[in-house]
Symmetry: C2
Subunit: 309 residues, 2 copies
């Protein structure tokens, strides 16, 4: 099977989005933008041995590759619409490719994003997705709009993926819930869209809450106080924290793909209404302050979020 056969068999699906004029199969893809919209774009790579282990299933790898990119677009308050896939494969393994392709297609249909192009190369297993979304002009949710007095919020529970990873590296069998949270994160696309007229700043929690929230604070030239006791964690992780008195996992664990955002106090009531249909818990964990830096109340242990090198 050559590259063209491979693309045709595993990576060419009917495109339902009428804004796509040319999809997979030409030198480049072409799509149209609605009037009054801007383009949002992000790229993330997942590599075997770094971002997932050799025994991760093709299904989960596909899902996570797409989810982490959807999550970045969600953090901008934008609607993900198109993506390209650059995949490096050590060999042509048809059953692996079928599982990967089915999973990618399933998730892309669920989130209504179209695969419009890509590249397949021979090499160590690695997936780079570039996600392109759209947003009403000047509505993008950046990291730089947090103001003193805004509440600091997170979605879902924090630290599940980190707790799963900690268990795996310590020879403890994680629960299926924890494995799912590590391998198949749920991108908060609907929440991002709902936040775009409400939040003052937003980021997705990929490297660790403490590090990611610090990016908002730095970009916005503000500080924040958060209380560890308010960070929403799963029951199992809560027990682990009670036992160890160590909040490192939810603070620095990373790979959560929840959203961390700031909301001006004035938007608080509206915010409750708008978020109802998003089907995800939202928790206020602190407040933005004028004095710089992130103050963490309730834990003064060592902190070190994910480093890429």
């Amino acid at each position: 099977m050559n590259e063209f056969g491979l693309i045709l068999e595993y990576f060419t699906w009917p495109i339902k989005d009428p804004s796509v004029t040319i999809g997979v199969g030409d030198d480049a893809a072409v799509f149209s933008l609605e009037k009054g919209y801007q383009v949002v774009t992000t790229t993330d790579t997942l590599t075997e041995g770094i971002h997932f282990s050799a025994n991760t299933s093709a299904k989960d790898i596909a899902q996570k590759s797409l989810a982490v990119n959807l999550s970045d677009v969600a953090a901008m308050g934008a609607k993900p619409k198109y993506f390209t896939l650059a995949i490096s494969l050590p060999k042509i393994d048809k059953s692996w490719l079928k599982e990967f392709s089915d999973s990618l297609r399933h998730l892309s249909e669920q989130y209504e994003v179209s695969l419009v192009g890509g590249d397949t190369t021979n090499g160590p297993l690695s997936i780079t997705i570039t996600m392109i979304g759209t947003i009403e002009s000047s509505k993008a949710l950046t990291r730089s709009g947090a103001r003193p007095g805004d509440g600091v919020y997170v979605s879902g529970t924090i630290g599940d993926a980190g707790f799963c990873f900690w268990k795996l590296t310590n020879g403890i069998v994680p629960s299926s819930y924890e494995l799912k949270r590590l391998n198949c994160p749920i991108p908060r696309v609907e929440l991002g869209l709902a936040l775009k007229n409400l939040a003052s700043a937003c980021i997705d929690v990929s490297d660790g809450l403490e590090q990611d929230l610090s990016h908002i604070l730095k970009s916005s030239s503000v500080g924040a106080i958060i209380e560890v006791e308010k960070i929403p964690v799963s029951e199992a992780l809560h027990i682990h924290i009670e036992d160890t008195n160590d909040w490192t996992i939810p603070l620095c664990g990373g790979d959560d793909y929840e959203l961390c955002f700031t909301i001006p106090e004035g938007n608080k009531e509206l915010f409750k209404k708008v978020l109802e249909p998003c089907n995800v818990n939202i928790t206020r964990i602190g407040v933005v302050t004028e004095s710089l830096g992130l103050q963490i109340e309730g834990f003064d242990g060592p902190r070190s979020s994910y480093q890429h090198f």
Copy 2:
């Protein structure tokens, strides 16, 4: 040095394009599109040991990574404008990074494309660039518009990169011109822009003239006759072909990044005028036919263009 320091030092440049609202440093980049334009996007990966050898300089790797993507956008007749860079690095080598960054920045300034985002990961050396361009709505040059009677054309000379690669694998020292053609291809951006109102179909020659032209023919449901003697080749390659009577290199060599396109006879005169400022030779090598398939006159030896696996 962590990822953020690395991005700040090597991959954050002032963006001059006012259409970019948010560049490197947020969850995703944001840019605006001019009214009446569509978005064009393509992705290509270059991996050490597959697309370039371990002794290729950082400067050349950067240049080629960008050039191959610019070339795909050029083949659509579009203007390249923004790109993301996903780079996988085995280690932090500051002098390598500086050379790579300087080269990438230099070429991106030359072609007026803005680096708007990306991802840096730890792993075997590999570069994936996603190039985004713009084109007037419905003006994109696809592979599917060739019609019987159209002339078949190529830009520049064909086979130089393949000849260089052949020399390297046979222990012959290539000329500096040939090395440059292999490692630093010139994307035909200006030519692509000039062709958009003239050509009926276009592709960039990356996998080999025979294979790439065949893509146009298949997409357009037509055939073509080309004459090998008309394929423009360098003087040195011409001597090699006379000696061996073997046209495999220009037909199947790949990595040329010249454009191969078809022009309706009626556009021939206009075409000569429009192409003058493009500063690249254009050669008519054959004609599109109704009967399917690619007929190659003057050579019936074995042919096998680049296979990705």
